[in-house]
Homo-oligomer: 180 residues x 2
DNA sequence: CCAAATCCGGAACGAACGGTCCAGATATGG
DNA sequence: CCATATCTGGACCGTTCGTTCCGGATTTGG
């Protein structure tokens, strides 16, 4: 969905309906007939983003030799995005969660829920890693999952702030160090 | 400055000049005479925020028994803010850096610079901690400083996403574990 | 005490916002 | 082939945006 890209690049509030129309290549009336309003279009876009991201992460996790290797690849690949256009976009979920904060409306709640979904996936990955013996078993799996979500949110924030690739990679490496 | 609070709570774009006038209790013409425009008012507010924050952090660092104790108190106090109104506000610097991203204009550049200033303060604190022997000396000080800034940005993002206090504290504790 | 300089409330500007609406284009099906 | 149903381009709505501007209030200084 093209609307996703617009919300991703500009944020919920700053994405105007005119931006959305231009990207989706449809007319105003079609948008309102098909989605009701801007809020529902955003919810649809965020839902699709989350579904796609979870699918991709789950596949990478399933295909990874170890859960630790999964986290290492995820963090290193993300850090290496530094200084690219892709890095400036960030992640729609973290972007939305920080923009909408505790606003209390549906978009805000859905963004928070999406962060929790990511943490849930990380939790499952950590448990696998602890069973495999690659991830320190003496630490609480849920706490590690929260820590890894925090790390990703922080890394994405640093990339948005313009941190250089080498520095992002060094910081990411230190996040990973806690797993061992 | 009252304008700071408005930018802090609502973000740069979402803070309307009418919001700002109401908070500052001045008239429209006074604002434009005194600050030129909204962008310059924001730069002023962000500058004051940064100065105040750096002063407070530096004092806490100077008064802390060890640099490690400084980081522990900072992270724990921040995590404990979870579920409060204060946590929903986040930090003006990280808020601005993530909202404005790599937009290239003055506000965006100033936000990125502010993040770097925080990292610089952390760098100095890490070096003191390594000299004192409380912080692992085998790790690069600059990398640790970047990691700690990343951790703070991540923690603030989690608080905005509505993470519970107990979970925020657990995650913060894991960030601190890397220092030892 | 008055003249001069400064300040400020509020009206007004053009532009952009999210959302509505209808005439005309397009597709459907008997 | 035409009647009917569906879709859509774009004008338009009221509101809000950042900014400008000016007449009148307030302060200042001699």
């Amino acid at each position: 969905m093209a609307a996703m890209q617009v919300f991703w690049a500009r944020g919920y509030d700053a994405a105007s309906t005119r931006d959305l129309l231009a990207a989706m290549q449809i007319s105003r009336s079609s948008l309102y007939q098909a989605f009701g309003n801007k809020e529902q279009l955003f919810l649809e876009a965020l839902g699709r983003y989350r579904t796609g991201l979870v699918e991709r992460l789950q596949r990478r996790l399933d295909e990874a030799p170890t859960a630790l290797a999964f986290f290492e690849a995820l963090y290193r690949d993300t850090a290496r995005e530094a200084e690219s256009e892709r890095a400036a976009l960030g992640c729609l979920i973290f972007n939305s969660a920080t923009e909408l904060g505790q606003r209390g409306d549906r978009p805000a709640r859905e963004a928070s829920l999406s962060v929790e979904v990511i943490t849930g996936l990380f939790h499952q990955a950590v448990e696998r890693g602890q069973a495999e013996g690659d991830i320190a078993a003496h630490r609480d799996a849920r706490a590690l999952a929260l820590y890894l979500t925090l790390g990703m949110a922080g890394l994405r924030a640093m990339l948005k702030a313009g941190t250089a690739a080498t520095e992002a990679e060094q910081a990411a490496e230190l996040v990973l160090a806690t797993l061992r």
